[in-house]
Symmetry: C2
Subunit: 236 residues, 2 copies
């Protein structure tokens, strides 16, 4: 198993037993989500921006961020922390103190840089569509040069990362076990609903490649499927 | 309507038309979620930590963060940015460029401080249970002094905030409208699953106050209900 290096920056400070540093665990958390939160600093002030991310190997990408102006001004990259979190359950214990949550999270550190080269930027934007919606780009018109120009794409090689996973039942104190209080886990998951076709659309059927986004499926499972296809097929 | 002040820190830099600064919109995004992401800075390095948050008026609270040591060392508070995001849908357009996501997000700025006073800390921890699970604290044993001591609670008065909401259909370019590509919105939502009772539990029925966490309900709707009860009843 390949691991990210453990440094003072990514070493878990709390609940060490939940921490993992191997690529497989970290990437599975990243890949299961569409959205990340990115922390960055401007003049000492931290910002936390939500955005859509995509991964190619140990590189993360995102686009159009309010940090773009700052990034453009600083060659060589600026330090950021990219975090993806999935809430999986509410853990209800017999004491307030032992209430908890089941979750998966990954924190990734690196230097974020604007991708200025048009060819590299085009490839990164194509990867975005290919990674989320494999097969879709074949039915779309090509991006125009103006569209590529109008989008900021930011890339970051992950230098350190850690994942934390809590995925078990209630951790009651032994002496609380007899208390007549309901205890257990209330699971939660991000689920896909019924597709809502555009009102302006002619009678266009849902393309086969979109049928995996079926009502009632878990979004994280679909996202892992599409990443696996992207990893296997690579970029067009 | 009461608004948060708009400053260079929280003024929307992009897609201005999606930005809102009023308390109602910002608080509705915060309250609909259990989890936030907190950006903070240690020695110039940004960190983005996921955690559970709760709100009382214009104060946000969270507990047990790896920033605790830093916070304890710095009286007067440290600048943080607390962001809550809900992914509501995948927006599939006829061009790669116009693909988007429906979402609700709120970014809140302020100075975070460790709550050292034991009475204030106890009240904040009681508020956590009351806000998430109204009615539950009455059936739990009181927290012990040791439990209160073992928990770091961090408080922050929101000084600036903004919310962004995208909640509409596809924004195709007019000239792409004829393309025979499926376009529309694939909605997603965080849903509650079937409660999993603790294996160690005697035949304890689900308390009436937990029945709102019913299988098949949207978590964000339940969270807004429980916050409304907390807002109406205040702290015990």
């Amino acid at each position: 198993m390949t691991h990210y290096p453990v440094t003072p920056r990514n070493r878990a400070k709390r609940v060490h037993e939940r921490a993992r540093y191997d690529h497989d665990t970290v990437h599975a958390v990243l890949d299961a989500g569409l959205m990340c939160h990115i922390a960055y600093v401007i003049d000492g002030q931290p910002y936390c921006t939500p955005t859509i991310h995509w991964r190619d190997g140990t590189r993360l990408y995102w686009h159009g961020s309010s940090a773009s102006r700052m990034l453009r001004a600083q060659k060589g990259g600026v330090p950021v922390c990219v975090t993806v979190t999935h809430l999986d359950g509410l853990v209800m214990a017999r004491s307030a103190f032992n209430h908890s949550a089941n979750y998966r999270s990954a924190m990734c550190f690196g230097l974020a840089e604007i991708i200025e080269d048009a060819a590299e930027k085009t490839r990164a934007l194509e990867a975005l569509t290919d990674r989320f919606y494999p097969g879709r780009r074949a039915e779309l018109r090509p991006m125009t040069a103006q569209e590529v120009k109008a989008t900021s794409v930011i890339g970051m090689t992950i230098t350190e990362a850690s994942a934390k996973v809590r995925a078990h039942g209630v951790g009651d104190d032994a002496e609380d076990g007899h208390l007549p209080v309901w205890a257990g886990v209330i699971p939660v998951a991000t689920m896909i609903g019924a597709a809502q076709p555009s009102a302006l659309m002619p009678e266009t059927p849902l393309a086969p490649h979109l049928q995996r986004f079926a009502e009632g499926r878990r979004l994280d499972e679909v996202m892992l499927e599409t990443q696996a296809i992207y990893d296997a097929e690579g970029r067009a």
